[in-house]
Amino acid sequence: MAYVDSDFRAHYFEMLRRKRLYSGIVLAIFVLLLASGFLLANDRNAGGFLQGMPQVLDFPADVVADAAPKVAELPAHLVTYFPALLETVNIAAVSTLAGGVLAIFVSLLSTRGLARFPRPIPVFRRFMDLCRAIPEIVIALILIFVLGGGPVPAMIAIAFHTIGALGKLFSEVNENADLKPVEGLSSVGASWMQRMWLGVVPQVAPNWLSYALLRFEINVRASAILGFVGAGGIGYELKNTMSWGQGKFDEAAAIFILLFLTIVVFDQLSSAVRNRLTHGRAVL
């Protein structure tokens, strides 16, 4: 008995040692990759990390220095650029709305047990993967070439990506939906649309809404970035004001403030609503 016990102990410690060794090796490789990666990135960068570090605050300091003497004009600038901000938010809202509605259909069509046609489920899934894999900027830049600048290319680009991102999350939610209401509805002869609308949507709508709000917050950021490459909105104005150069950064400062506040406000708003959606209490 005692022999078996000590054998177990030896075996256990042997396994423990090996596990620790493996974890140590994995950790060492990770640290090595990280360090060499940073060194490589540093080498391939135009300016090095150590030379650049003291200058990190130069640009923010310039912006503050330009904006501080003209602080009285700041409210006027905020008002000037508000329409551009509105456009950025509108791009995000419309693309979340359109992408979300399409994502609902695609996700229902690609969920086992709910799909209208079971056979093409993999087709819809691959379609969602494709939508998700293409960065918004790719579609936006090409559409800007064809459709000209403005909010429409950004809207289409973000909506396309949203279909993929939300479609995947929605179909995960759909998979957890109870199928009994759907069966009940089909037993009384409901069409597919009626089964989905009355049997599935009431179960999953809060989760859908919560994911859509999170996506909206992400899309506000994306739409600001797309503006920077020519798709209109606050990003476009930011690029213009930045190009005026030093001494004229006061308007850029106003845009920075607007952008920061918008992102923070929508971030807080959407997380507050999402909290209420997931932890009881109806919003409506």
Binding site: F38, R44, L97, L130, V138, F145, V229
Partner: protein, 439 residues
Amino acid sequence: MQGTASHARYAAAEALLSRKRLMAFLVPGVVLAYLVYIFFAFDIPGLAQRADLENGRTLIRDAYSYKTHVTRDNRSGDVSVSIEGERKGDYPEGTAPEWVALGEETVVTLPRGHEVRFLPGNALVYDFPEGDPRADIEARIEDREVVTDIGEALPDHVSLSSSRLNITTEAGRVSLTNNRTEVFRYFTGWELFFFTLDSPYHGHSFWSIAFGERIDSERTNIAGAVSDFWNNAMWRHKDVAWAIFETILMAFLGTAGAALIALPLAFVAARNFSRLWAARFGVRRIFDFVRGVDGLIWTIVLSRAFGPGPLTGALAILLTDTGTFGKLFSETLENVDSKQIEGVQSTGAKKLQRYRFGVIPQVIPVFLSQALYMLESNTRSATIIGAITGGGIGLLLTQAIITQKDWEEVTYYIVLIILMVMFMDSASSWLRNKLIRGE
């Protein structure tokens, strides 16, 4: 008593129903009104004027085909052939593909029996095949002006002014101006994708390179072919591979660095681990701040200090994601199961041991899975940040789009980006399964 209670409940249900009925009309109505507002705010009716469908057609045609230019300099009379009209695609002087016969009278054979002849005296003849209802066209430059044998009524495939003649048919395109006579012939495919014209391996099949006789006497076939492919001046395979690597590097460094920085800070921000209200509040506001400033602004600020390149992109991702991870990690820590910690404590463990054996094993799998999820989305962010600051595949993509003619390269980059993101997606989910479930 019971009657009034049920009456009140009945009334409440009635009110709820009527409110729901109202919402059922109100919500779609508000959405519709918003869409109408957007329709005008985004100037959708004016889109038709701004859109350039010709651009769209060029883009689609260029994505899968290329054109070879046969050009005669009308002053010197020299004829040159080049692919896409680029220097990198020039045929060496005096040589031409087999469908161009150089000589006193240069004959360019187009598909479907069409033929263009460059005649002396800056003249050209476009011969349609026999049985084609369209009449052959003769044109020449006289006194710096285009003279043709076309009558007053211009056919659909010709556009003509005194300085320029354009003939566009299904077989190709011809243009004649004072300075030059040009014929464009279209081919399907991506031109010179493997080897440029100056490489000895151009035009050889894979089989003859791999197993045939030595083509270039100085190098073995495989080494020479790989090196010529890798250094292809038109498609720049080497630069593209580096760019993809840089983009993945940015995503990896940003994600891993952010996770490492956020890890200790998350303990300070979590309510159940940090007793100090001020520290908690301070760290949380830092998380909110770096997240709120957003990748775009961080990219601008950092690229001013560090210049374009992968380090700038990596740091921009790192800063934004420190906020995201901090928030996610501290929420995970607040939801940690205290039973496991108490269990460890009951064996007499010290504070550090409680963390090591009570907390870490619970949260590390969750943290890892969150970080790996972000890795995939950061690959896309790195592409976008690269397009703004100049680094990685994003830079190559924007450069190719700005030229507005290298759409085959744009297509190539897009395909590579999609493959890269999908690769990172499956790599991260493979790692997730491997590390967390131990499969």
